[in-house]
Symmetry: C2
Subunit: 131 residues, 2 copies
DNA sequence: GATAGCAGTATCCCAAAGGATACTAGTATC
DNA sequence: GATACTAGTATCCTTTGGGATACTGCTATC
């Protein structure tokens, strides 16, 4: 596995690595975080616009996700004193720090799906119990 | 955000990217997948050894996770005809394809935690409502 | 003055993930 | 012959993520 490039494998470095990975997985995990980020990638959007763009997300969940994304400094929230008040959500510069990770995940995910498809086919064309 | 390096951003490429990322997140997600992989990184282990090493995982969950890891070809299961039968789990070569992704996640996770800690401190040292 | 839009919040509900505990079949030891 | 070990399974329970639906306060339009 080797989750710690250089240096020794103490139990501390390992569990620290595991913790960091869990943190990372957490902030982009869940059903809606990525869709929201990707929607905002095309430009700032207001609450209702996001809800319409994502179709099927309920306001409660959208609100919660946006709060978390804001906490993690991926999106910024700006209130415009129009009537009625409108609130604009936009990606921060920091959000692009995710790029490398996301590309890595996407590429690995693609390759993995290909691989599974291939080995499934191979298994099917094999006589039963051929191991 | 830019989750698609080169080429156009059609809705298809975007949602395909999102799908691939979700797949990737899924196979390493959950509470125990990474701990199991990291435990097996130190060498093949039997079921009970894993359970003891991971302390707190129940056999039901361990069994389920191992099955999924096996399906994804990260671990292989070999039955030794000893008495009583022992079953050895070990990492496959394919499991190391995860390295880059995991390192990326770990590094990003570390940096992110640092960043959050820093901006929390900054917020605290600020007089209230200083924005 | 009812309706519709804004940005949410509140309450209830459901399904999935995971935990607790007990159990299986087989053999070796006390 | 009871106990303990192997690798799990079975059943029940709790927690969490998320969905459905209704509602808030405010303003602008019909």
């Amino acid at each position: 596995m080797e989750i710690h490039t250089e240096g020794v494998h103490t139990q501390e470095t390992c569990s620290a690595a595991a913790g960091a990975i869990r943190d990372a997985l957490y902030v982009i995990g869940g059903k809606w975080k990525l869709p929201i980020l990707m929607t905002l990638a095309s430009g700032p959007q207001r609450f209702r616009e996001l809800q319409r763009a994502l179709e099927d997300i309920t306001p409660k969940v959208l609100s919660k996700e946006l709060k978390e994304l804001e906490l993690n400094e991926f999106v910024s929230r700006t209130v415009h004193p129009t009537t009625p008040v409108t609130v604009e959500y936009s990606l921060t510069g920091y959000s692009s720090s995710l790029q490398k990770v996301l590309i890595e995940l996407r590429d690995w995910g693609f390759a993995h799906r290909q691989r599974l498809k291939a080995s499934l086919k191979a298994a099917k064309s094999q006589p039963a119990h051929a191991e």
